[in-house]
């Protein structure tokens, strides 16, 4: 088992290396000269040349990449072109709202979708099953920004039970935090929940046809015990896989959702950076998001070993 874990952890290194090369190349491949952007509209050719010199943009690709990687290893993601502040500091400031939003979203999505999927599989072919499937199709095809505005209109403007937008740190109390986070999480979680519910249904349905489910029934177990204790545990591997994969959707969705609900998170930072062509920030954000994705999938692989003993041994 430890061999498996170590192998799996080592395998993340080349992935991150490829990401680093790609992220750095972004600066080279994208149109527009960062020096010209920093210098502004009124700058002369001399100004731009000086800035290029200061940023080291005249040096060969490999030298620049070497320096960049060296700094990266020490946690230095460069300096924002626009604000002149270190990228790592800017991102750290914005980390909490995004982390909280994605975590809450995943919790809500899993708690809603897994029971829905299990019940749909158990009641396959009935009206309940069709209802869950309808929800899955709608949830998946409904654009999250439209859903976000609909939820704001319904809960914040008409019913006036939740705030329209904004973010309250969890350090200021769980109640206010939850008040602010619930609508964005529902918005962001819809796609997630749809995907997870569908996968859960398919996976559980397949398991329910297995011989050992018949054995479990023949022992006199209650349906709930058969579904949760016997079926869900066997169906869990594909469900956990899809949760890991859907994490990518979550990151993309967070950017839109944070804009809709005016949450000062990494998503907003990214949007602003893209609009201003603030490349160091874009690079930093991509690196962190990629790193998070790789870590989540590492976690998924580790969870497998708890779910299925055949992987463990």
């Amino acid at each position: 088992m430890y061999a498996y874990l170590i192998r799996r952890i080592l395998a993340t290194i080349p992935v991150m290396a490829v990401v680093a090369v790609f992220v750095f190349s972004l600066l080279f491949l994208s149109p527009g000269d960062p020096a010209a952007i920093i210098a502004g509209d009124l700058a002369t050719a001399d100004d731009i040349a000086r800035i290029r010199e200061r940023l080291g943009l005249n040096e060969p690709f490999l030298v620049q990449f070497g320096k960049w990687t060296f700094n990266l290893m020490q946690g230095d993601l460069g300096v924002s072109i626009f604000s002149n502040l270190p990228v790592s500091k800017l991102m750290l400031q914005r980390l909490e709202p995004t982390l909280m939003l994605t975590t809450t979203t995943l919790i809500i999505a899993i708690c809603a979708a897994v029971p829905m999927g299990v019940i749909a599989a158990w009641k396959a072919g009935t009206i309940i099953d069709r209802g869950v499937m309808l929800f899955a199709v709608l949830g998946f095809s409904f654009p999250s920004f439209v859903l976000g505005y609909l939820l704001i209109y319904g809960f914040a403007i008409k019913l006036e039970v939740l705030p329209v937008q904004g973010y309250t740190s969890i350090s200021k109390g769980f109640g206010p935090f939850l008040n602010n986070i619930i609508l964005p999480s529902m918005t962001l979680g819809m796609v997630q929940a749809a995907l997870i519910a569908r996968m859960t249904r398919t996976s559980v349905l397949e398991v329910l046809a297995e011989d050992y489910i018949r054995t479990a029934h023949s022992k006199g177990l209650a349906t709930s015990k058969v579904l949760i204790g016997h079926a869900l545990k066997n169906a869990a591997v594909p469900i956990v896989t899809i949760i890991g994969i859907s994490f990518a959707l979550l990151i993309g969705g967070a950017i839109i959702t944070e804009s809709v609900f005016a949450i000062p998170g990494l998503g907003r930072l990214t949007v602003d950076a893209i609009l201003r062509r603030d490349y160091p920030i874009i690079q930093g954000v991509i690196l962190v998001f990629s790193g998070a994705y790789v870590l989540v999938n590492l976690a998924v692989d580790i969870i497998y070993t708890f779910l299925d003993p055949r992987i463990r041994y």
Binding site: Y212, K219, G220, N234, P309
Partner: protein
């Protein structure tokens, strides 16, 4: 009538021995889109306390569906449409689902053909056995696990204390079937339904498993319904035999009587299709195994007369027109055939 009284009411007796399981005129049909499949169509049999009853027939004759009906585990589109299933005199078809659950794994247990897939692959053996014990006997987790180890020892799993923490994929097919038996017997059931328990196993392992089942039957006093297509297995282990064909019972007798004097052409066909080393050289067709020509008819579209008539060498015009009644031909020997006399004569001649 209170529940306690119902539970205490004993079943009918035969020669002073209680009938623990009685199936009366059971009909289990499957309502498919292409029509009604009469998988079990009016089957009755009973098992006495401590007896081993063999239920024999080809694939698709309804023997497994009958057993699953006893546990009321028939999945849609199947449904028990008629009949009574009594355990110690109590009709299971009248029980609520919750009452039925307290019967499954407790009064009646079942073991299945496929030991490789019948155990849950992601749960330890101990968890799977202890679960049943905790459910029906109300033991604590620790006591239930101790009992699981005991059960594994009973079915002669070596190093039971260690094995109890292992998973099914770490065991061979024979071992898994032992675990299934341990699980099925863990609550001292009155009846064990064994559906082709040795079919998927190696021949040497088959004998071990059969002997184990019989030994435990003696020890625990469990009645066994042994469902199989293998007459050899039945001959070795059963006191009485029921032969099924196309959802109906075609012959019933004690094992000795049935093998001595079969009265249904289908039973004769089954016997002749067993390879026998001692006979091969002396019969008219040396070394040749007899087969029953044709196939089991579609249960959706049964011939009007006897279901076996299209494959039967004794069949007459009457067989193709009328369904023969299942009746007593000799003391304790029943058969559903118009030509039982001829069959007996030819088999002996």
């Amino acid at each position: 009538m209170t529940q306690a009284q119902t539970m205490e009411r004993p079943g009918q007796t035969v020669g002073g021995v209680e009938k623990v399981l009685e199936i009366e005129d059971l009909k289990t049909h499957f309502f498919t889109r292409d029509g009604v499949v009469r998988a079990v169509d009016g089957v009755s049999y009973h098992v006495l306390k401590g007896e081993t009853l063999g239920v024999v027939g080809e694939s698709g004759c309804g023997k497994s569906v009958t057993a699953l009906s006893v546990l009321r585990l028939i999945a849609k589109p199947g449904r028990i449409v008629q009949g009574k299933i009594k355990i110690s005199g109590r009709n299971l078809l009248e029980l609520s689902e919750e009452e039925m659950r307290s019967i499954r794994g407790n009064d009646i247990s079942m073991i299945f053909q496929e030991p490789m897939t019948s155990l849950n692959p992601v749960l330890t053996l101990g968890r799977q056995i202890a679960e049943t014990i905790m459910l029906h006997q109300g033991l604590s987790k620790k006591d239930a696990w101790d009992k699981s180890v005991e059960m594994l020892k009973l079915v002669r799993i070596p190093e039971a204390e260690r094995r109890v923490h292992e998973y099914p994929f770490q065991m061979s097919g024979g071992m898994r079937q032992r675990v299934m038996i341990a699980m099925a017997l863990s609550c001292n059931p009155k009846v064990l339904l064994a559906d082709e328990p040795t079919t998927a196993l190696d021949v040497t392992i088959q004998a071990q498993i059969l002997h184990l089942m019989l030994e435990l039957k003696e020890k625990l006093g469990t009645a066994i319904v042994l469902i199989t297509h293998d007459l050899g297995v039945v001959a070795e282990t059963c006191q009485r035999i029921v032969v099924m064909y196309a959802g109906k019972k075609v012959e019933e007798a004690t094992a000795d009587e049935l093998f001595e004097r079969p009265l249904h052409p289908y039973t004769v066909g089954l016997m002749k299709s067993i390879p026998r080393l001692d006979r091969a050289a002396t019969t008219e067709h040396p070394g040749r195994l007899m087969e029953i020509p044709g196939m089991v008819p579609s249960l959706k579209n049964m011939p009007p007369g006897c279901a076996f008539a299209p494959r039967c060498s004794f069949a007459t015009e009457r067989c193709r027109r009328e369904v023969p009644a299942f009746e007593m031909k000799a003391s304790g020997h029943y058969s559903a055939c118009f030509n039982s006399d001829k069959v007996a004569e030819i088999y002996h001649g």
